[in-house]
């Protein structure tokens, strides 16, 4: 199925934050949307320029609860900054006319749970949740089983 068609059936708005906002702001935004696992970072032109996962944010805020740190995590812990410095710049997006099955593998490999749909201007149109894909796959399988039984 094409991404645009999926979005029409399962419309999910993206949670976004400006790249010069604080990490605290990003965390608050995410906590206001409990089902969302990724927050998308926008530049001044409202283009997607990065993303931050829930795990990454939780790891940064709960660092003092961890008994072990790498040197990199130590530095992150004592030099808090804006979203810009912690976001992952490599956002795997899908275009509205692309098939979900063509991009799903890459997203699963990168362990992200949401797939952003963007237009040619890198502006975000919505989000495809892997949880919704899973729900749809299960429903489809159950429907097939019922058809077979009948």
């Amino acid at each position: 199925m094409k991404a645009s068609k999926w979005l029409k059936r399962h419309p999910v708005e993206a949670v976004t934050v400006g790249r010069d906002e604080s990490l605290l702001q990003a965390a608050r935004q995410l906590l206001n949307h409990p089902e969302t696992r990724d927050i998308y970072v926008l530049n001044e032109a409202q283009e997607v320029c990065g993303h931050l996962s829930f795990r990454r944010l939780a790891g940064l805020f709960l660092a003092h609860q961890r008994p072990t740190h790498t040197r990199r995590q130590l530095i992150e812990r004592i030099t808090p900054s804006t979203v810009r410095e912690y976001m992952d710049e490599h956002v795997l997006c899908v275009r509205p006319d692309e098939r979900i099955s063509d991009v799903l593998h890459q997203h699963m490999e990168r362990r992200v749970e949401d797939i952003p749909v963007v237009n040619d201007d890198a502006q975000i149109l919505g989000v495809i949740r892997v949880a919704d894909l899973l729900r749809a796959a299960i429903e489809e399988e159950q429907a097939e089983t019922r058809t077979g039984d009948a």
Binding site: H64, Q65, R71, R72, I75, T79, R84, E85, D88, E89
Partner: protein, 401 residues
């Protein structure tokens, strides 16, 4: 036989370390070292037919390359700028203090006591002295729920001091390893060649990894680049340590904000590397060396401690750190860990240090055992004095619940 032994060292070392930590409350590295000691040629190893440990050298070189890569990439330029003068000044102070005091005390000791090696030996072991064990400090901070300016300073210092330590060690090695006559060109190539090559390989590795979305494939690129660089350093005669650090720094620099993907896969290897380092160091254990050179071991231990504590306190004061930091910062710097052991193992495998390499490994291993225990007590003392114990997060004031 060697492959079988490595397997045994990894599994039994982990079991020893974990059980020791669980039942006796000692750091895991103590178990790793003691297990390695059992397999030393002078102990059980001799009976098992292990009469040489030179075969460990290529693994030590690669493992040190991995650690140097992670150290080089631990901070971005902007993060370094944000650290603040208090952390930077304390770190420079403690590194300078440890190097100077150990060099002078061990060097003078060598003049006064006949069988202690000379000034080159003093210089090399002084270059190992400033490295610390971040894991030990983080464990104390976590255990005592410490929070405050001293805690922040300590965490910042242990995150960056190994980088300074490795730079000093590499420069010292370039100077004493060059030999008389052509020392300067060799030293310049040793350092400059390493930095330039490391930066180029780092740039290429970062660009290549951008095209790879799977973590497993990125790990191949990253470890491949480290091994390639370590091999190239042997062939072209520049410092593998500096080159690997430059690789990490350059990969981090060129990756922009997205550095996690370049380091997280390699960080998974860090404990594996340290188990190898500590068990290999244990295998260098020679009872007669430890007994004969016990005064030198104690001399190094006290000189290092005095240099670290005094240097950190002076550095913090000069940098204008708060009083509570300047008065206590030195106490958190004693634990010595995997980086020091790795550097000592590197010397043990170098023909230039054929006479003193084993002695250096035994000194560093023995003092690591001492500092891993005393260092935690000392760090706790400093944190208590600063009033930063039990100040962390939502558990503040809720101990025992």
């Amino acid at each position: 036989m060697e492959i079988l032994l490595i397997g045994i060292l990894l599994l039994a070392g982990l079991a020893f370390g974990t059980l020791g930590s669980h039942y006796f409350g000692v750091p895991r590295v103590v178990g790793y070292i003691l297990l390695g000691m059992l397999f030393a040629p002078d102990l059980l190893g001799g009976a098992l037919g292990i009469d040489a440990i030179e075969w460990t050298q290529p693994m030590v070189s690669v493992a040190l390359g991995i650690i140097a890569y992670l150290i080089g990439g631990s901070a971005s330029l902007t993060q370094l700028k944000r650290l603040g003068w208090g952390i930077v000044g304390s770190t420079f102070g403690k590194v300078t203090g440890a190097v100077l005091v150990v060099f002078l005390v061990v060097g003078l000791g060598g003049q006064l006591i006949g069988d202690i090696p000379g000034w080159t030996f003093a210089l090399v072991i002084a270059a190992i002295a400033p490295t610390t064990a971040p894991a030990a400090i983080v464990a104390v901070v976590h255990q005592y729920r410490a929070r405050g300016p001293l805690t922040t300073t300590l965490l910042g210092m242990v995150a960056i001091d190994d980088a300074l330590g490795i730079m000093i060690f590499s420069v010292v090695l370039a100077i004493v390893g060059g030999g008389a006559g052509h020392a300067l060109p060799v030293a310049l190539w040793d350092i400059g060649g390493a930095i330039i090559t490391g930066i180029i390989v780092g740039f290429l590795a970062e660009r290549l990894s951008r095209r790879l979305h799977e973590q497993e494939l990125r790990l191949v690129v990253l470890v491949g680049s480290i091994v390639f660089l370590v091999g190239l350093s042997e062939a072209w005669g520049f410092s593998a340590l500096l080159a690997s650090m430059a690789l990490g720094f350059s990969a981090r620099y060129f990756s922009g904000a997205t550095s996690e993907r370049l380091f997280e896969p390699v960080e998974q290897l860090e404990e594996l590397v340290f188990v190898l380092f500590f068990t290999f160091a244990g295998m260098h254990f020679k009872p007669d060396v430890v007994i004969n050179y016990a005064p030198l071991i104690l001399l190094y231990f006290f000189a290092r401690g005095a240099g670290l504590i005094g240097g950190a306190m002076i550095g913090a004061r000069l940098a204008g750190a708060p009083r509570v930091v300047a008065q206590n910062v030195g106490f958190g710097m004693l634990p010595q860990g995997g980086v020091a052991i790795g550097l000592a193992l590197l010397l043990a495998g170098s023909p230039r240090f054929a006479d003193t390499g084993t002695l250096i490994v035994n000194i560093v291993t023995a003092t690591t055992l001492l500092t891993e225990s005393i260092g935690s007590l000392s760090a706790r003392f400093g944190l208590r004095r600063a009033g930063e114990v039990n100040q962390s997060g939502w558990e503040k004031g809720h101990e025992g619940e």
